[in-house]
Symmetry: C2
Subunit: 500 residues, 2 copies
């Protein structure tokens, strides 16, 4: 960290690091408040927790937008080449953060925040009534303000670039469009193939015991190498992962009486948490002590959930454990049948219920609509009809109503234009990284069959986790896989899995 011991005057980078740590600590405190809200908080406290969160946000905002940061960044940016790799990365990430927080005028932020809070209320009603028209005026304003937001943030080619960059550093509209064009046709072919296959579907007679689900979920996390000394698993309405500090990366899970979802949530959230737990302690507590982007983060959850957690090889090893935990459910079922059920492909209307092939179409549709709205080649008026036409085109399905269609997700009402693509990005990255792993470890099948997940975690840790946010996503991907993002890996992975 460019250490100058025994001098009284701290360097700019040392000062930045101190500020970074303080901001990071406050963010961790805010994360604890959210975690407690989902996991522990008594219902009566909901209103006051919202106020407490607003207060801590104000404190954080004040620290994050202090002009001192800008001064120190400018000073550091003047002599970047004299800094270590880590320090340069700190400057890069803090600059991004500072710009994102300060480029938008305060009145704009307040206005947008008011708009989205009203939009959220309206979306809840509109979805209940399954009536897009009701929500449309809000979406129109959100698109208008998102364009304005893009102007404030700045971009070279496409206003959407400015919004995408908020979620995925340096992601461009053009490359995304190209990726989606590349995967569209092959994925439709795969979907067609899958339609001809036999349907495999669980039908359980008894409910799953909640305590046993929780126990099994923990055993998966242990198997993955999740460190319970530096985290914990709890129950919450929706599974999530959160970071309360370098040594406190918590996950949650949801336990439903009639579903095996808890198994894949354990893998998914475990994947997010392994990433955070694997960050090297030399960057603990700074802006670098986090996964570098939403896309890379999602790639780790998806890799564990899909490539490992849905593989026949892993379940050859682990299925007896599942049978032991739930004999009533699985003793009469073969491992092949189990794996067929958990990999069933069947296009449907709802993104969050989608299998790993059709999932990408849900994202693609959002992307196409968001892009066209920002380009003003369509208006909000056109959205529901276009939505329905695309579900017909890609899935051959007739969307029955707006609630099942365009109104299903909360994100637009939050004003999160540009967020959806990171989901597919996660799938693309995960396939590309998993391909590399297979190249480096040709015996990966026997590693899975022996249940040696620790070996896989260690490879991921050495190549991805430990760097935290040091390398931007594109650079990280290239370092790990030797190539820029390419759609072929996801297509190959899915073709191999579903068409051979």
């Amino acid at each position: 960290m460019n250490c100058k011991a025994n001098t009284d005057e701290k360097t700019a980078i040392q000062k930045l690091l101190t500020i970074s740590q303080e901001i990071n600590e406050l963010n961790n405190i805010e994360a604890l408040m959210h975690w407690d809200q989902e996991v522990c908080m008594p219902p009566g406290a909901a209103g006051e927790r919202a106020n407490q969160l607003a207060t801590i946000s104000r404190v954080i905002h004040q620290k994050e937008t202090s002009p001192v940061i800008d001064d120190l960044l400018k000073e550091s940016e003047l002599s970047l080449d004299k800094l270590s790799e880590k320090d340069r990365a700190l400057v890069r990430v803090m600059r991004r953060n500072y710009n994102q927080k300060t480029k938008l005028p305060e009145e704009f932020v307040a206005k947008f925040s008011k708009l989205t809070s009203q939009a959220l209320q309206c979306w809840i009603d509109a979805r209940k009534n399954s009536d897009f028209k009701q929500f449309q005026p809000f979406l129109e304003k959100i698109i208008d303000m998102s364009l304005q937001k893009a102007e404030y943030l700045g971009y070279t080619d496409h206003p959407y670039d400015a919004l995408l960059d908020l979620y995925e550093e340096d992601l461009k509209t053009d490359e995304l469009a190209e990726v989606f064009e590349t995967i569209k046709t092959p994925l439709i072919t795969i979907l067609d193939k899958c339609r001809q296959l036999k349907i495999h579907k669980f039908s359980f007679e008894k409910p799953f015991d909640e305590d046993k689900q929780s126990e099994f979920s923990k055993s998966i996390l242990r198997k993955m190498g999740y460190d319970f000394n530096r985290g914990r698993e709890d129950k919450s309405p929706h599974p999530f992962t959160t970071s309360l500090g370098h040594n406190d990366r918590r996950v949650t899970n949801r336990f439903q009486p009639d579903s095996v979802d808890f198994i894949f949530s354990a893998f998914h959230e475990g994947g997010h948490a392994l990433y955070e737990q694997g960050i090297n302690k030399s960057i603990a507590g700074s802006h670098l002590d986090t996964g570098v982007s939403l896309g890379i983060h999602e790639s780790q959850s998806r890799l564990w959930e899909n490539m490992i957690g849905r593989s026949l090889a892993f379940w050859r090893h682990f299925y007896p454990e599942l049978q032991k935990a739930f004999p009533d459910h699985f003793n009469a079922m073969s491992v092949n049948e189990f794996v067929a059920c958990i990999n069933q492909v069947k296009p449907g209307f709802i993104r969050v219920d989608a299998d790993e092939v059709s999932y990408n179409f849900h994202v693609l549709i959002r992307f196409e609509l968001e892009k066209a709205l920002l380009e003003k080649t369509i208006t909000c008026d056109d959205v529901p009809a276009l939505w329905n036409r695309k579900y017909k085109e890609y899935f051959g399905l007739e969307v029955p109503d707006d609630a099942t269609g365009v109104l299903q997700d909360i994100h637009w009402s939050h004003g999160s234009i540009g967020y959806f693509p990171t989901y597919t990005l996660g799938n693309l990255y995960s396939a590309q990284i998993w391909h590399t792993y297979q190249q480096v470890n040709p015996d990966y099948q026997s590693i899975l069959e022996n249940g040696d997940l620790t070996m896989i975690r260690e490879w991921l840790c050495d190549n991805i986790y430990r760097y935290g946010a040091i390398y931007p996503p594109k650079e990280l991907l290239k370092r790990v896989t030797g190539r820029d993002l390419s759609a072929e890996y996801l297509i190959n992975y899915l073709q191999q899995k579903y068409c051979t």
Copy 2:
């Protein structure tokens, strides 16, 4: 709240209230961090949580010592008579808080904090070695700095007054000395009487199941009227109550395999929590939204724990529930024998294990030593011999070593000189308040025998809880009981209980 709607300019008191709420919110956030540390936090996160706590403390300290508060207080103090009772109380409490936080110079606070953190480490070692000499240099420095602290804080008669006032508003050394003088002889007489009684002691063959303890503890809380919609009970190494907001007053309990302590911890912490839950919502979220002092708070925990939770009348009602929950332990034991066991008086060396008669001597001994140390009539050199002499004098016991004697408690190493008396104050208040309750409700025995704890809670709520910190402790006591603090009630209560 002296509301001036429709004017743009807020009054000083309105501005104070806003600041008060923000400070209160930050304090609640800090309380959540402590609660999580004791109840949930994974062990690996201990170090970083300490840093996060230091950071939030700095944020709070900055808000609490802002000169704006002083200006607004001065403005409000100029026209106190124009303010409502509540607003005057807010000014009183915020003034106390502001003065306490600002009268000590920052270097002094830093020096004291460094000293006590070293003292704590030393105390841990010294207690392990049972060697007071090892700890003595730190105690000497702590006494010196406490005298200095008293000078900074200011006092009229006795430096100890300044320290007592930190824990109990307006408590004076002289009145405390008088109270202890008054109770000393009668309590020794009661102790002598108790020595002649038969020993009643539990001897359980089976351990208590932890889950059943937790369930029973919750049933006590429900019985008391604790609102689980605005709180929760968890397990922690030491039972405590904490406030995370007006609608979030949490308690914890400890479950040991061989002890009924969990029952009395439930009553004790429940008593603290009922106080906080009973505060009127018109003062929610301000400096008034808390119990007014440590002594009054302790009076509520002790009233529920001892006057109610150890009464034969209540157990006549509730003992069948206990037998049902733990048939192996209690089915063969009569309610009279159970109540005799939970009220066994037997002087011992350890304060935290003490019965309700001898408890006060543990406090008295600390008080006498602290007072003499501050008056410099003794030195730290004299402390262990004096300690042991007093245990001989009051209890007839030979203290075997320093660990069992003068080194047993952590408080001095924390620098908390003046804290101990609030424990006995709690006992005195509780007896005086319980006496009043009995006067107003002469059928209190049948109320207890019917298990109508709600009636008792409502009376306490109407007379104490709902006011929060509006009335200073002395004024509150007089409003509730019609009299100033008097030692006779505790003596009468104990005489009646143990000598008739």
